[in-house]
């Protein structure tokens, strides 16, 4: 039985670009409308440019009871907009959705938590906001406290909680919701590994009881572990839907083809300054046979080209590989050598079985005389390394930023019969 049926839903946002300065205040609107009333020609420097942006475009799908649907796609693909429409937070511009059953949506952990209130007070506050009756909260109260592990801090204002405790409490409340349809947005992105495991387990329990789950996540391993169906969105369109492994495979192959190269044709439009201008930065994966996307096995080369506008300068390149959260994982540099005007290229090799799965960005810096940074191209390329495992039954997040295959052996030293 279909519990959610979406027909041709689209969502349009109007973005006002103001030529000149200032935001869209009441004054602007009033002066603008006065101008229109009196039929005056609009001042060309002061017009509001209205640009349409379709966050979702003609999306159709139907979800059956008990389905666990993963929703994947890049930032800005329309995933969150879809969840907002399904949660009734906003309405679609066109189209309609029919939903059978009570919906609980979890777009954020601890929605409406008030920092001044105690853990106890916030359990009631957050529970009611999520649609629980007071009686239901009272019944689940001890379990919530236990699941979140916050017994000792029940009467402490949550502003004194650590961020981990805050998240645990928020999820614990949400986990005790009892809806027929549950919509979850990226909640697992926070919290420590152990707690994430607990959450995934809880979600599996929920789905095992026949409830319908919609789950948006960047963690493809979690989507694969939890969801039987997957929707893949790109630029507001539902590109593909179906069985999870199939959709994720085609999503990954598309992801890898995009944005791994950035080029600027002429020095005028290129980023840089009077001394150096970037021409091109490119990540070239060397796919082993059959794979079409970067995973932990894939070796890569980073190729970087720039124009040098200085007559004679001692230059070297410095490459930073950063995690999505901005921590530097490593930094390598070239030798410093004298160069004259012209186009200069550098290349760095990153071996396979080195980076762990995750999102990374590459920044490249041109340095003069080994001390003066001339230009830093920040986040020149961002890319994802997908997970790949063989012979492992465990699918939690592999810890660490690197996943090297250092020699690590074990062997039987002495055979001994313990039995008898």
């Amino acid at each position: 039985m279909s519990v959610i049926a979406a027909e041709n839903i689209s969502k349009r946002y109007i973005i006002d670009h103001k030529r000149g300065k200032g935001t869209n205040t009441l004054r602007d609107v009033v002066t603008e409308s006065f101008r229109n009333w009196f039929g005056r020609k609009q001042d060309p420097d002061q017009t509001l440019e209205r640009e349409e942006f379709w966050a979702l475009r003609d999306v159709n799908f139907s979800i059956n009871q008990g389905d666990r649907v993963g929703i994947v796609g890049h930032n800005g693909a329309g995933k969150s907009t879809l969840l907002k429409i399904l949660s009734k937070i906003t309405e679609p511009t066109t189209g309609s959705v029919r939903i059978q059953g009570r919906v609980a949506s979890l777009l954020e952990v601890g929605t409406g938590f008030h920092p001044e209130l105690t853990g106890r007070e916030n359990i009631y506050l957050n529970g009611s906001i999520l649609g629980m009756k007071r009686e239901e909260i009272r019944k689940a109260f001890d379990e919530i406290v236990d699941f979140g592990g916050i017994e000792k801090f029940l009467d402490t204002p949550v502003k004194r909680y650590s961020s981990g405790m805050y998240v645990r409490l928020g999820f614990a409340i949400a986990a005790h919701l009892d809806p027929e349809i549950m919509i979850i947005d990226e909640v697992l992105a926070v919290g420590d590994a152990e707690f994430q495991k607990k959450c995934l387990g809880k979600m599996r329990d929920v789905s095992a009881s026949g409830r319908t789950i919609l789950f948006v996540s960047h963690n493809l391993t979690a989507v694969q572990a939890l969801c039987n169906k997957t929707f893949y969105f790109e630029k507001g369109r539902l590109m593909e839907q179906g069985e999870t492994n199939h959709v994720i495979a085609s999503y990954l192959s598309r992801v890898s083809k995009t944005k791994l190269i950035r080029t600027w044709e002429t020095p005028e439009e290129a980023p840089g300054n009077d001394q150096v201008r970037i021409r091109r930065v490119e990540l070239i994966p060397e796919y082993p046979d059959k794979t079409t996307h970067i995973d932990v096995r894939t070796p890569m080369r980073v190729r970087f080209e720039f124009w040098n506008m200085m007559d004679r300068a001692n230059l070297n390149l410095s490459l930073h590989l950063n995690s999505l959260t901005g921590e530097c994982i490593f930094n390598v540099g070239t030798q410093s050598k004298p160069y004259s005007k012209g186009l200069i290229a550098g290349e760095c090799y990153i071996p396979g079985y080195f980076l762990n799965d995750g999102s990374y960005s590459i920044s490249v810096m041109v340095v003069k005389d080994t001390v003066t940074p001339l230009f830093n191209l920040e986040e020149g390329i961002t890319f994802e390394v997908e997970d790949y495992r063989e012979g492992v039954a465990w699918y939690g997040k592999w810890p660490g930023y690197v996943r090297p295959q250092f020699p690590f052996d074990m062997k039987m030293v002495e055979e001994e019969a313990f039995a008898k």
Binding site: Y13, T25, L26, R27, V29, K84, I85, L86, S87, K88, I89, T90, E91, P92, T93, T94, G95, S96, V97, R98, I99, Q100, G101, R102, V103, S105, L107, E108, T111, G112, H114, E116, L117, E121, Y124, L125, S128, I129, L130, G131, K133, R134, P157
Partner: protein, 276 residues
């Protein structure tokens, strides 16, 4: 089990809106309790602030308008009591009005993350202000005992004027709450409106002083005039100036504004999140 079907579509308002609102009454209560218990956290004087503020305002007004400007009270009524009664109901109106008009934007974190009938937020703001009003009313009781003024049958009409003040603040506040989502200018405008309103309403003076003027009819069109005069009349008895016509004007204007504001709010509430 009967399944609950929802259709989400542009411009389609929830069929079960009012029953939804009723179902969420616990949320209304909890949001109000949140605002009340948060307000005086980490303050030394706590709830007494709800008494200190009107008390000092009254003392200043008695000094400025009665001692310095020598404004007369209605005959037979002590000036402080006249001011305090007007001030109590005006403070209720202006606080509720201010809170309601900010209710959607201050709860932006909820609006963007979870659905519930949005009308809950302005309603909880009114409830919080109402509680403050009850506390400040006790100040009036103390002063009434001090001046040995005892209420008579007029007191029976008191709830009518309180209800009118509540509806007025809700109606006007609701309209600005919707505007506030799009135009933050409202945040600047409201304190100014409240300040102007303070002098445009018979708080520091009695309506008797202006009843002879040629523009008195126009003056009565201010819905607060009827409410404040009526409130004072109900508390202090027949000696206070009260023109029943002004209440008629209040009821009509408030009724009209409330329906318009509700219509406007319902029309916009589904897309608050896109503008907030």
């Amino acid at each position: 089990m009967k399944t609950h079907e929802v259709v989400i579509q542009s411009g389609r308002s929830e069929r079960h809106y009012w029953s939804d609102l009723w179902r969420n009454r616990e949320l209304l209560l909890i949001l109000s309790m949140r605002d009340i218990s948060v307000r005086y956290k980490q303050t030394a004087l706590g709830v007494s602030w709800s008494l200190i503020r009107p008390l000092t305002t009254m003392l200043i007004m008695v000094f400025v308008f009665s001692k310095v400007a020598k404004l007369p009270a209605d005959p037979g009524i002590p000036y402080p009591l006249m001011v305090l009664s007007g001030l109590t109901i005006w403070t209720f109106f202006s606080n509720a009005f201010t809170q309601v008009s900010a209710s959607i934007t201050t709860n932006a974190n909820l609006v963007t993350k979870v659905y519930f009938p949005r009308l809950i937020m302005p309603m909880s703001s009114v409830m919080v202000s109402f509680l403050d009003f009850l506390i400040s009313l006790s100040l009036f009781v103390i002063f009434a005992i001090w001046y040995q003024v005892s209420p008579d049958w007029h007191l029976l009409f008191l709830p009518v004027f309180i209800l009118l003040a509540l509806l007025a603040s809700f109606a006007f506040g609701l309209f600005f709450a919707v505007l506030n989502v799009r135009f933050r200018d409202v945040g600047q405008l409201i304190p100014f409106l409240v300040q102007v309103g303070f002098y445009a309403c018979p708080i520091a003076y009695s309506s008797r002083l202006v009843s002879g003027e040629s523009w008195y009819t126009l003056y009565m069109l201010n819905p607060l005039v009827g409410i404040i005069d009526g409130f004072r009349w109900a508390l202090l008895g027949g000696k206070a100036y009260f023109n029943p016509q002004s209440v008629l004007a209040s009821v009509l204007i408030i009724g009209l504004c409330l329906s318009l504001a509700l219509y406007f709010f319902r029309k916009r509430e589904n897309t608050f999140v896109d503008d907030i």
